[in-house]
């Protein structure tokens, strides 16, 4: 019973394929199989995007002591439908000086890689669209294409704010790609594979009262935190949202977009956020594995989406808390703080691998994580006068 519920979508796909085999010629069956794997991804994640926009607005509202959307539908949960209709019926403006082809292609070029990366994410047991041996590599290679799309949007708009935003975005995404990938390299080292499916399988055992997830090791914890920060910056979300920076450069690279193209930018932003969250779950949080051995009767895909929602809530929470950084602060943070820590973390993972398991390994590795963090933090803060700002006239 539990197994059939766990594999319900896999069984459903096989059954549908068997039905199709009657009417479709055999040469077309692989295509049908691919389509049957893709359509759920194309339906589920944009739906999740729609729900997340409402949840985010409601959550941010509560954080700021207000209601948030509560008019459309029960508790405002149909707000996304109203927003979607609005985006569809709005006039689609293209600036006269814009490079029309590139201007049109940019949002598409942003959404496509955001959707492509889901192909390698294992959403549940036996539920990865493709089990690529170099899945992780594919994820980062395709994910990096979004930088091109962002710059296409900024360049083709012929707008100085758009160009500024695009330049900031490219600088930021290139800078944070390095700690992002370095923090995942530890996992690759420990699991010995680039395949997300195998990485999840490597975390499937339960030792003591904690599952063997990579986040519950010193190097894994440090890697997870670095990964989260870099993922936040990759997704251009607050506090790393200077490419958009409403108060300085209005909306950055998508300033000249309106109507549904504008909505596509948001769709792509959230899709890449979910994808990178899903990757974080796959690498550090045990993928679709249940947190306790006794909870394994709950379907694996449920655990994946539960963890995904938890990470999304964390991202919304940080967005509601932290103010936007300055460009120089952002770059300093990436190159002077996150890059050294990510490199040291590689060493920590190696030490963890070669020391015999036991308490000494824990002590040494914890020291290797906490020590550089404290020292680097103190070093970067030294000579800086960080105190409460005094206003001469406003108070």
């Amino acid at each position: 019973m539990t197994d059939s519920l766990d594999q319900i979508f896999v069984t459903l796909k096989h059954w549908l394929l068997a039905q199709l085999a009657i009417v479709v010629p055999g040469s077309l069956l692989p295509v049908a199989s691919v389509l049957l794997s893709l359509v759920p991804i194309l339906v589920v994640f944009p739906t999740l995007f729609a729900l997340t926009t409402v949840l985010e607005r409601k959550g941010l509202g509560r954080i700021q002591n207000r209601y948030g959307p509560n008019r459309v539908g029960p508790f405002g949960f149909l707000q996304f439908a109203a927003d979607g209709i609005k985006a569809l019926i709005k006039e689609d403006l293209v600036p006269r000086a814009a490079d029309k082809v590139v201007h049109f292609l940019a949002p598409v070029a942003l959404v496509v890689p955001a959707l492509l990366v889901y192909a390698v994410l294992p959403i549940g047991r036996n539920m990865a669209a493709i089990d690529l041996d170099a899945g992780l590599l594919f994820f980062f290679a395709v994910g990096a294409a979004s930088e091109l799309a962002v710059f296409m949007a900024g360049w083709s708009s012929r707008n100085k704010y758009a160009l500024l935003g695009a330049m900031r975005a490219v600088a930021q995404m290139v800078s944070y790609e390095i700690p992002l990938i370095l923090s995942t390299v530890t996992v690759v080292m420990m699991a010995g594979t680039l395949s997300p499916v195998k990485i999840v399988e490597a975390q499937g055992t339960y030792g003591g009262w904690l599952p063997d997830w990579f986040v519950f090791t010193p190097w894994g914890f440090a890697g997870f935190i670095l990964f989260l920060i870099a993922a936040n910056a990759e997704a251009n979300r607050s506090p790393f949202d200077m490419p958009e920076g409403e108060s300085e450069i209005i909306a950055g690279y998508f300033i000249e977009y309106s109507g549904f193209k504008f909505a596509l930018f948001f769709l792509a932003e959230y899709l890449s956020l979910f994808a990178v969250c899903g990757l974080g779950i796959t690498l550090f949080l045990g993928g679709w594995h249940a947190p306790l051995a006794g909870l394994e009767f709950v379907p694996s895909w449920f655990w994946f989406f539960a963890k995904l929602l938890a990470l999304i809530v964390l991202f919304i929470w940080t967005r509601g808390t932290l103010p936007r950084l300055r460009v120089d602060q952002l770059m300093n943070f990436a190159w002077k703080f996150m890059l050294p820590l990510a490199l040291i973390n590689l060493l920590t993972a190696a030490v963890w691998h070669y020391m015999p398991s036991g308490l000494p390994r824990w002590i040494v590795c914890t020291f290797m994580v906490v020590g550089p963090y404290l020292l680097l933090g103190r070093g970067l803060l030294a000579g800086k006068n960080i105190s409460k700002r005094v206003y001469r006239y406003a108070d």
Binding site: G59, R62, I63, N65, Y67, G320, T321, L322, Y373, L374
Partner: protein, 204 residues
């Protein structure tokens, strides 16, 4: 320590998030069309014309003096004087406004028309839901729509209305005393002019 401030900030926002579900004091939003805050007494939005009695057009205090029209900074008032005269609230023959229009889209709610009116005839209303589907005719408010009874004024601005009523009572009393004095003087003059009449006309 690095990162301490972030933890503190996250705790603060979490407190806000959870607190907004349990404490009404945190959630200060008034959901406007369903919930309303009571209006402060000095609220003002758009002028109206005060009338006495039951007939709005006959009881208008306005005498069409056009002071408000001239003083209005954005020039949103348009008045046409009447050709004939009628009795005003002081029982004196006065002109009245044949046309009195205010352009709602131009009015800036400054209350200068109220300050300059010597007849307590124009006052500020508190009604603020004035939107209309007709942006030409609907925004030009005419005499019939502007006329509102003095009771309405007493209801929305009780303090100001008391002052206004007292000032009017003084005016009316003064006018009546003057009328009486005039009548007496006229009677006296009549007595001097015609000594044949032995008994003077009784003043009312």
């Amino acid at each position: 320590m690095l990162g301490e401030g972030i933890i503190k900030g996250m705790a603060e926002t979490a407190r806000n998030f959870l607190g907004s579900y349990v404490s009404d004091e945190r959630l200060t939003t008034v959901q406007y069309p369903e919930e309303r805050l009571p209006m402060p007494e000095n609220a003002r939005q758009f002028p109206f014309l005060v009338f006495d009695g039951n007939d709005p057009m006959a009881g208008l205090r306005c005498v069409g003096c056009q002071i408000c029209e001239k003083e209005c900074p954005p020039k949103c008032i348009y008045i046409v004087k009447s050709k004939d005269k009628r009795l005003d609230y002081k029982r004196q023959m006065q002109l009245y406004p044949a046309t009195f229009d205010i352009d709602l889209s131009v009015c800036m709610s400054c209350q200068i028309c109220v300050e300059v009116c010597p007849f307590e005839a124009i006052k500020m209303d508190t009604e603020f839901e004035l939107s209309t589907t007709d942006r030409f005719g609907g925004l030009m408010v005419n005499k019939q729509q502007l006329a509102k009874p003095n009771e309405h004024y007493r209801k929305i601005h009780p303090t100001d209305a008391a002052v206004s009523d007292a000032a009017l009572a003084v005016e009316v009393a003064k006018a009546q005393a003057k009328a009486k004095a005039d009548a007496e003087a006229k009677a006296k003059a009549a007595v001097i002019a015609t000594p044949v009449v032995t008994q003077p006309v009784a003043a009312t």
